[in-house]
């Protein structure tokens, strides 16, 4: 299968501190790849590096284009949508304004309207709360909102930063079920970072393990799931 994202020797950090020390990983067209790692391993930084939110060195090729060093706004225009750490809600705006903002760079008005319906179809709760100030939504609803906003870009690649974080198990299941739907029905590729290895390995086809800014293991999800060390330290059985 064709590579959608090809990252080689990715270094990134904040100020003088380097956080990622040369990551190499890839993502297949239509696939779901997960990067697992403990708190502070550099998962968020990896996603931020891909969409130009931190200074980077190394190669990032997305859909055949070198994007390392490009501005976030331009990377977004290539079809990379980011569901960020902390959900990135525009708390003062309404739910619907938040969702509509996701389509800001698109000019195909008719298709945008259809996509809005589609997103509300995935997340009917957001439709009920269309006019509500988004800051008053629950954590789970805000996570759904962040995913909806990202989908409104009609992206080729969805970057997901711990969508399970801080949510009740039932909500997490619901969100992952919808993510799987989106991947199979709409062929949106996903790069998912998670601390919750169980759930991430359940949805992803490939996995990488990140430890303090280095990739220490990689393989198909099945291989990783059955690995002794992973089982002990990340899956807890």
């Amino acid at each position: 299968m064709a590579k959608l994202l090809d990252v080689k020797g990715l270094r990134a950090g904040y100020g003088q501190t380097e956080v990622l020390h040369g990551l190499t990983f890839e993502l297949e067209q239509g696939g779901i790849t997960t990067i697992l790692g403990a708190n502070g391993a550099g998962k968020t930084t990896t996603l931020r590096a891909i969409c130009g939110m931190v200074r980077v060195a190394g190669d990032i090729v997305f859909a055949g284009q070198a994007i390392a060093g490009k501005a976030t706004e331009d990377i977004v225009r290539l079809g990379v949508a980011h569901v960020p750490d902390g959900r990135g809600t525009f708390v003062q705006l309404t739910t619907e304004e938040n969702v509509r903002l996701g389509a800001y760079v698109r000019s195909d008005k008719g298709q945008v309207a259809a996509d809005l319906d589609r997103v509300y179809h995935y997340f009917p709760r957001l439709k009920e709360r269309r006019m509500q100030q988004a800051g008053t939504l629950s954590g789970g609803e805000q996570q759904m909102l962040a995913i909806s906003r990202a989908l409104m870009l009609s992206p080729k690649l969805l970057l997901l930063d711990e969508p399970s974080f801080g949510l009740a198990p039932l909500i997490v299941q619901e969100i992952y079920r919808i993510l799987r739907d989106i991947n199979t029905k709409e062929k949106v590729s996903m790069l998912l970072v998670e601390q919750n290895a169980n759930i991430a390995l359940g949805i992803a086809d490939h996995a990488y393990l990140l430890e303090t800014g280095n990739i220490v293991m990689s393989g198909t999800s099945d291989v990783i799931k059955n690995d002794e060390t992973i089982r002990k330290s990340y899956l807890g059985y």
Binding site: E73, F90, V91, Q92, L93, Y104, V105, G135, Q142, L153
Partner: protein
Amino acid sequence: MEAFLHQIFSGLAAGGIYASVALALVMIYTATHHINFAQGEMAMFATFIGWALIEWGGLNFWVAFLLTIVIAFCGGFAIERIVLRPLHDKPVLSIIIAFIGLLVIFNALAGWIFGFTIKAFPSPFPTSPPFGNRFLNWHEIGTVGITVVVLLLLFAFFRLTPLGLAMRAAAFNPESARLVGIRVGLMLALGWGLAAAIGSVAGMLVAHVVYLDPNMMAGILLYGFASALLGGIDNPGGAVVGGFIVGVAENVLGAYVIGTELKLSVALVLIIGVLLVKPAGLFGRRIVTRV
């Protein structure tokens, strides 16, 4: 009674001016968390340009009025790009110094180009008493009308257009705004342009009343600031209401209670009072956030 009504109406006319200045301050504050001290001088300078277009260029008032708004918009946009953009990651103090620098430069430049003598600024409105009522005048009615229309247009722009929504998004949450592809820097510059444009409207309307000179906006900026604080410095609607409240209060108190000499102190007392008693202002935002 009629005299009292007139004080109220004059207050509303002044209020429209304060509301416009307050809104300009609030627009930049919400996006950057800075108070642009140079907002008044920028408005003054734009008003001089309007004056020159009329007096030197021989243009019709309304043509000059619209042209000045466009020039002010471009000027505000350029100032953000050229002066403030390079400072965006510098300490607050550098930015404050840039504001003070702009204030001094515009003040000096206006005097140097246009002279320090006080000038009459024309009014586009008739001088006859409206409806035969000698307590009213057309300029005040026109001022209320124009400022209300400008404010309504702005609210429509911010509420109803995708660009307006993008500007609000960029101001509220720059990081998330970039993630949906909004060019945040450009939005900021547009905000500066709009703020300068609103300021120029206020300047051209008030210049007929206070006369045009390089220090014309000093007191008005203070009232505008008091209005913005009263309404809530991060709340555009509140700032507008604050402007009208301050305008009416200033006129009524000035006429019946404290006299015109002390009017400006009302603004100062109000500023200190609001800061002490209700720092968020009457309509300051309480953002409810759940995590």
